[in-house]
């Protein structure tokens, strides 16, 4: 019934279209009449008919409809399982690359497990481990690789010069170390601004400096001097070219060297505070000790105390020059200087205490 009606409607429309050719205006109105009639009929039919069933999509599996499935390719076993024990590793891992679990023939774990519930408390293994892929690896720089690199480079090498077998010999004959860098990359320009930087390293002990000159040198270069290695490091990058920077570094080294040998008139005005370390001879300690010993010397002359309680080691002549050269004073001076210049350790303090006790004849040690 339904099909028939649908056909009739199509037919009617066709008729309309045919009629259109003859007289459009009239025939339009005719088709409009036909459509409205059809709608009316449909409404009547809906009222008359039974309830339509409501289909919930996906509730019932539709049988008969088959999805085309892609054929699964068989996954080959990981490569490491087929690796022979005596393989050439450089062929497996020829260049730097991200970690690949299937090509690494040893067990390795990486990552963080927060609780025992997470991954059963076990640090993840290499399979699909993103952590291992994040970190740099050195599987392309094994001894075997290095050997191959060296073998490849050998033909470009020259003879090692005789007499430079040891590091000490190299240091002796080539005290100035110059570091440069070259950068190669593909681009429209082969220049790289980083290539201009020059680093010049010199050991301070290789320079011919006396105490004053060394101290001045260290003060002039500031933090370019590394006290732990004894090196002075000049890094220059202010000129555009490598050669210019090298010349500038050499100029700096020369200038600082000669400047440090100069004695300016204002250097004589250096006070105790300006000193680079403690000098007993200009310290307050010297004045105190000399005054104290002179005082004790005078007291002892008049004192009626027994001889062993007096300061027997004190020389007859208690002038400052004599006292300073006196052996006990010298020991005391060394102890104070050690204490002030070095670390204030228990041993240094004990030595200082012993020095003071001998200097002032303080008796009565327990042990």
């Amino acid at each position: 019934m339904c099909c028939l009606r649908r056909l009739s409607v199509v037919h009617l429309r066709l008729v309309c279209l045919k009629l259109d050719k003859n007289g459009p205006k009239r025939e339009y109105s005719r088709s409009a009449v036909l459509c409205s009639r059809y709608k009316q009929e449909k409404r009547i039919r809906e009222v008359e008919e039974e309830f339509r069933t409501f289909k919930i999509p996906g509730l019932k599996t539709e049988t008969g409809v088959k999805r085309t499935q892609r054929r699964k390719m068989p996954v080959p076993p990981p490569r490491y399982q087929q690796m022979p024990v005596d393989q050439d590793w450089t062929n497996v891992w020829p260049a730097a690359t991200t970690f690949k679990w299937s090509a690494v023939p040893f067990p390795v774990r990486q990552g963080y497990v927060e609780t025992v519930t997470e991954n059963e408390g076990v640090i993840p293994s290499k399979y699909a481990n993103a952590e291992l892929m994040k970190i740099p690896n050195f599987l392309h720089l094994t001894p075997a690789h290095i050997k191959k690199h060296c073998a490849a480079l050998r033909e470009f090498c020259t003879e090692w010069p005789a007499g430079l077998e040891t590091d000490q010999a190299c240091q002796k004959h080539f005290p100035v170390e110059v570091e440069t860098s070259d950068y190669c990359f593909s681009g429209p320009s082969i220049r790289d601004p980083r290539a201009r930087t020059i680093t010049v390293k010199v050991k301070l002990s290789d320079l011919d400096l006396d105490y004053h000159a060394r101290d001045k040198f260290v003060r002039l270069v500031g933090d370019r001097f590394k006290p732990d290695t004894g090196e002075v490091i000049f890094t220059t990058d202010r000129c555009p070219m490598k050669k210019q920077n090298y010349d500038y570094a050499m100029y700096l080294l020369t200038a600082v060297y000669h400047e440090s040998w100069k004695r300016e008139p204002w250097e004589a005005e250096k006070t105790e505070e300006d000193m680079e370390k403690y000098f007993w001879d200009i310290s307050k300690s010297r004045k105190t000790v000399v005054a104290l010993l002179q005082n004790i010397g005078e007291i002892d002359k008049e004192s009626a105390a027994p001889e062993e309680k007096k300061l027997q080691h004190l020389p007859e002549d208690t002038s400052e020059e004599k006292l300073i050269a006196h052996s006990e004073v010298v020991k005391y001076r060394d102890a104070v200087s050690d204490l002030r210049n070095g670390e204030e350790s228990q041993e240094a303090l004990e030595r200082y205490g012993d020095g003071v006790r001998r200097l002032l004849n303080i008796q009565g040690s327990l042990s």
Partner: protein, 434 residues
Amino acid sequence: MDASMRAVRCGKTLRLFSALFSRPKTHDIASNVYSTSACFKSASAKQQHPHVQSLSSCRQMSNLAEQFKAATAAKRQAVNVQTVFRTQEGDPTKQSTAQEGLFYTVPEEDVTRIFQKGLPPHFTRQAKTFAETSFMVRKPALQVIEYLKHLNLDHPAPRFVLYGKRGSGRTLSLAHVLHFGLRDNWVLLYLPWPCDWNKWPHEVSPSPYKSGRMDLPIEAAEWLVSFKAQNAHLLKDIRLSQSYVWTKRETADEGSLLLDVVDFGLNRMKFATDCVGVILKELRKQAAMHKIKLLVAVDGVNAFWNQTSVKNLEREFLMADQFSLVHNFKKMLLSNWTHGAIVCTVDAEANAVTRREQTTPYYLLGKEGFEWLDPFVPVHVPDYTEKEAYSCIEYYLDRNWIQHEAAQTEEGKKELIFLSNKNPFQLMRVCAAK
């Protein structure tokens, strides 16, 4: 290594202790001073004490008194022979290395005389609980006493500086030396903790004697009180060598008693600080005349070269030596007077928080302070030795400070020593309630 560090390292053990912590209910006596029970639960669980068995047998006795007697006897049996931790030699002038590591009790009259102020608060509280003030005879104090005994008093006053870690017993070693000084008839000039002047001065007023300096009248009066208590018996005949004019009407005439100056300072607080200066000057003069011998003792002497919390009119913080008191006492630290000795301690706590990293004299005193005291004899105050630590635990057991029975076992003592790392203060804390 610091004891607390160690305690952290053995965190596992500590956790075990805290898990086992419970107050002993059976013998809960009025005092709350034990609680090492926490540490010894594990030990006591393992070891069945012999007296526990005998306790069960004696329960059958009908008489309560008999039960108690038997239990006490059983307990006494359980405790091994007590090691010696106490010496009867209460006079520091007679002590020697033979008494090293042993406690001696300071007579009550000496305590009230010297230590009205000046002992560490923890120690004072403990002494009150123990109903006695006992010092351990330790090597640093013995050493200083030995130096003092052999001193040539004609020579300028020598200086001794006690240094050591926090809680190693510097102040108590100084107190021991002071007790020696009292018994050996030294005039004691003791500054318990001058750092307090810098931090919390009670009252600051400009000095009437010298402009630019500040007086601390209340602190000066406090010192005068303690000075009088310590030394009145030695200063009865000491008279002034010159006259001092306080005001138009108030003068101290030449030949008047020195103790009158003390009383004047106490009555006229305005001049208390100047009185201290006069007393120190007069004492130096008297010492030079060999009438008395002076023992200057300063705890935390590095406070003299530190900044104070007091500001001047320009809103700058004053340095400690701008206080007249500090100025006067700094003069006592110079080795230009005779017939005396100077014993000081250096303490990181007396320095500003930025300068507390080391405990050595030069670091704590700074350049200026070191040069002021130089040449001095540094005396190191170490932590307890094995013997001293055992002795201390025995003393605490004797005083019923530790009541848990496991503390009487060797294992328990070893635990206490381990937890405290033999540091006297830490050992005291480990054995205390909190």
